[in-house]
């Protein structure tokens, strides 16, 4: 999508709120993470899961759509590191692409992408073209490349070679396992969280996540305070 107002400020981890219907049905916008920024083009990748994404998948080339964004104050930190591990599961792999591009040249990067099976593996070529230290593609059933969970391949590599940051995006059970591992090994870890959203800008307080703040538990909001949080701070 050509959207210079969005691409000029967009940071890795941010998302867009797309209006999918003019009729008011479905009622809410669809929050979708940014996959890539290239000049004034912004790319998103989504799976058709329901009515909203189905309508979005039928938008014709050349048509204008109503988008709010880039949204989210919690983003992946792009800076100099020694070694980083970037780990994605399924649809969660896509937002990590822009991050990987921006980290290129700033650190050694290992990327671990896990998918259910061969049929849902996407973006492999794009990640390959960035040219990272190591790219592992794993499928749960072994129908493509490595068999097993992405996290296990990451753990094995980290045991041999410590990293100073983990970036993760994917299904909640995977993120929980990564949070646990990062805490046990004292590795700073940023995770991108998902929650059902209303407004996308922090007004409706719908997408609440429990966060530790000065020793107290408070609810923060994925859309405004996230979607990226430090794993140690969030209880999800």
């Amino acid at each position: 999508m050509r959207a210079p107002e969005i691409t000029k400020d967009a940071k890795p981890g941010q998302f867009l709120e797309l209006k999918v219907s003019e009729t008011g049905e479905p009622f809410l916008r669809r929050p979708i993470s940014i996959n890539s920024i290239d000049g004034d083009l912004v790319t998103i990748i989504f799976a058709v899961k329901g009515k909203g994404t189905e309508l979005l998948s039928k938008v014709e080339v050349g048509k204008k759509i109503d988008i709010m964004g880039p949204l989210g104050k919690g983003v992946f930190e792009v800076q100099e590191y020694n070694n980083v591990a970037i780990i994605g599961g399924g649809l969660g792999s896509y937002p990590l692409y822009e991050l990987t591009k921006r980290l290129k040249g700033k650190t050694s990067i290992n990327v671990y992408l896990g998918f259910r099976d061969k049929s849902v593996v996407t973006c492999e070529k794009e990640f390959e073209e960035i040219g990272v230290n190591k790219l592992v593609i794993a499928t749960d059933d072994g129908s493509y490349k490595e068999k097993g969970f992405a996290i296990d391949f990451m753990k094995k590599d980290i045991e041999e070679h410590m990293v100073d940051r983990i970036f993760a995006c994917g299904p909640t059970p995977m993120l929980r396992a990564i949070k646990k591992y990062a805490e046990e090994n004292n590795i700073p870890c940023q995770v991108s969280l998902e929650e059902r959203m209303g407004c996308g800008i922090g007004a409706c307080l719908g997408c609440a996540v429990k966060v530790k703040e000065d020793g107290n538990e408070v609810y923060k909001h994925v859309c405004k305070d996230g979607p990226v949080f430090f794993a140690k701070d969030v209880d999800f």
Partner: protein, 303 residues
């Protein structure tokens, strides 16, 4: 062309406000619209002490709108007065604070504080369906509404009091009369309708709190009907709301008897809904040669 209305002493430049809980304390939407254009802003439900709110999931989409069970998460009245109110006051719009509590004492204590703040009015939330204690407990009967309203009136001496009513009753005119008889300056409604959505794979409700308030275009016809019923039963002004998405919807509420209206969850679908509603009202007035918007209030002709 006059779009000014007087909602129980609150003189607004136009009848369009934004509904409590859908607009935070205004900051989030200031990036998207000019708050100066609004007739008024009803703040997020605010309590005496900070409230943490309910666990997630707090919202889900349903046909015709959405369910929410936020649980009145808010930073408390002290924080609001120090941090949000001075900022809100920079805008040329009326500020009405939505006040919520769990006991009559809490409502009274809160309104004692609100009475001294630089605000234009108080909307008493007797109708939140998502908080177990208080709120809804007082809001469903004539006696309950009358009791809490009259206690609050004793301390809220300097601000207009609007009582927000729930549609989760058999006859909304009864709590509305309770508010009027206790000296309320106006009523507002409807709040959300209690709903539930079940995830059929998990065989559990989607919302962590199991049930939530239904809002959106799907409740509009219920809201219009209830505003009409109230307008026939009471003589204090009504702030009408429920599923308004544009000027035409707002006009429906005004014909039914609302002096002013609130835009609720449609703010989420489109942050410009309130502005488009103001423009839509003006367009309607031009089309029908209406000089003064007040001339249409409650003028629906029944079949």
């Amino acid at each position: 062309m006059n779009t000014q209305v007087n909602l129980c002493g609150i003189k607004m430049k136009n009848p369009v406000t934004v509904a409590s809980g859908t607009f935070g304390y205004g900051r989030e939407y200031a990036d998207y619209i000019d708050l100066n254009r609004l007739g008024g802003i009803i703040t997020k439900g605010t309590s005496l002490k900070p409230r943490m709110g309910n666990p997630s999931p707090r919202i889900c989409e349903v046909p015709g709108g959405m369910l929410n069970s936020i649980g009145l998460q808010n930073p408390g009245v002290e924080y609001f007065a120090e941090n949000d109110l001075p900022w809100l006051r920079k805008f040329d719009t009326k500020i009405i604070v939505n006040a919520c509590g769990s006991t009559i004492d809490e409502y009274v204590e809160l309104c004692r504080i609100l009475n001294k703040l630089d605000i234009d009015g108080v909307e008493l939330n007797l109708s939140c369906p998502n908080v177990k204690a208080g709120c809804l407990a007082f809001g469903t009967t004539y006696e309950g509404v009358k009791e809490v309203t009259s206690q609050v009136k004793k301390v809220l001496t300097d601000k207009p009091l609007i009582v927000k009513l729930t549609p989760n009753v058999t006859d909304i005119t009864l709590p509305a009369k309770g508010a009027e008889d206790a000296g309320a300056d106006g009523v507002s409604g409807i709040n959300t309708l209690l709903g539930m959505k079940i995830d059929i794979d998990k065989k559990r409700p989607v919302l962590a709190n199991n049930t939530g308030g239904f809002s959106g275009p799907g409740i509009r016809s219920i809201g219009v009907r209830m505003v009409y019923q109230m307008s026939k039963a009471i003589s204090i002004p009504i702030l009408g709301m429920g599923g308004i998405t544009n000027g035409d919807d707002a006009i429906e509420y005004m014909l039914a008897g609302a002096t002013a209206v609130s835009i609720g969850s449609s703010n989420f679908a489109d942050p410009e809904t309130s502005i488009k509603t103001i423009e839509g009202i003006e367009k309607y007035m031009k089309k029908h040669n209406i000089e003064d918007i007040n001339s249409i209030i409650g003028t629906v002709q029944m079949n």
